[in-house]
């Protein structure tokens, strides 16, 4: 693993001084590759925190362009980037934040082969997309590649968060939770969403990814439900579905 320079040590000192994380955790982050699907409400805080915290390499994946109505909550984008591809707009912001993070981009909707290529060799995948089709496809690709998946979702005042660790055969996956691959979801464009709710969920998603990369315990096997209207947080156990078509043992 590549070691930190004295300059980098100074930059990340407030994390390195955390005894559970330390220089070892920071060095792991520095050498890690995270793939972020969706640079919207969740992908904004996820990409900003992973970059600021010192993840060495990010791949950003999105097909969309920045719209004026995104700016209310998608804080990685700027007024000046309306009309630009989201991955390019995000890359500009992130590069201004940390020159040591390598940022790769894919502007489009990846097919199955492209998905496999994008996550090949990655240490963690972050699902920040807004629809079931993408979520099931990303879950299946992570299962094939045995790459851990940190999955968050948010709508209205509420959110959900879990970690699906495909390196652990006992861990459930996204399709143990949502079973019907033909489901239609609700989007923020139709149902609305309160701006800091995606911020909360995305920040916690980034935190889970950092802990996973550092070898610390995560929400693996659990589902966190967040209600931003009442500020109630509940953690449920998520059992593995023995009949799951994606992660059941062969």
């Amino acid at each position: 693993m590549e070691q930190l320079t004295p300059e980098q040590f100074k930059r990340y000192s407030r994390q390195i001084m955390l005894m559970e994380f330390g220089l070892d955790g920071q060095t792991r982050l520095h050498n890690a590759h995270a793939v972020i699907f969706g640079l919207g409400g969740l992908g904004s805080p996820v990409s900003v925190y992973l970059t600021a915290a010192g993840v060495g390499r990010l791949t950003l994946v999105d097909f969309d362009t920045v719209d004026e109505s995104n700016l209310q909550r998608q804080i990685v984008h700027r007024e000046s980037s309306v009309g630009q591809p989201k991955v390019e707009s995000a890359k500009t912001t992130l590069q201004a934040l940390n020159r040591w993070t390598r940022i790769d981009t894919f502007n489009g909707v990846p097919d199955e082969d492209t998905l496999d290529n994008l996550i090949s060799g990655a240490d963690v995948v972050l699902d920040c997309t807004d629809n079931f089709d993408a979520r099931f496809a990303i879950n299946a690709a992570c299962a094939r590649a045995r790459v851990p998946l940190v999955s968050a979702a948010a709508i209205r005042w509420e959110g959900q968060l879990s970690v699906f660790d495909f390196t652990d055969p006992d861990c459930p996956c996204y399709q143990c939770l949502y079973k019907d691959a033909s489901m239609e979801g609700m989007t923020c464009a139709h149902s609305g969403v309160m701006s800091p709710v995606v911020g909360m969920m995305g920040s916690m998603q980034a935190l889970e990814a950092i802990k996973l990369l550092a070898g610390l315990p995560t929400l693996k096997g659990k589902l966190l439900l967040v209600d931003g209207l009442t500020m109630q947080f509940r953690t449920l156990t998520l059992p593995k579905d023995p009949a799951c078509p994606v992660c059941h043992p062969d």
Binding site: G41, A153, I155, W157, M183, C188, L225, L229, T230, T235
Partner: protein, 84 residues
Amino acid sequence: MAIKILYFASLREQLGTSEETLDIEAGLRVQDLLQQLCARGDAWQLALCDNPHLQVAVNQAVAGMDTVLNDGDEVAFFPPVTGG
């Protein structure tokens, strides 16, 4: 036998209640309980039975609709979330 039922997040807003205790017959499954609840009226039908992706947890563990309920169980209904 008695069970406790919780309604999370937007379900609570739709139904105007966050929890209740209900006497049910032994051997009832979650899906049978849902049919009972939805017979209460349009708001219940709309929030619970017309929501094909409704999620449920029994005793703080995500569960299937065919789960058989026991005395003292806590059943929590929560909506699916896919946005991002």
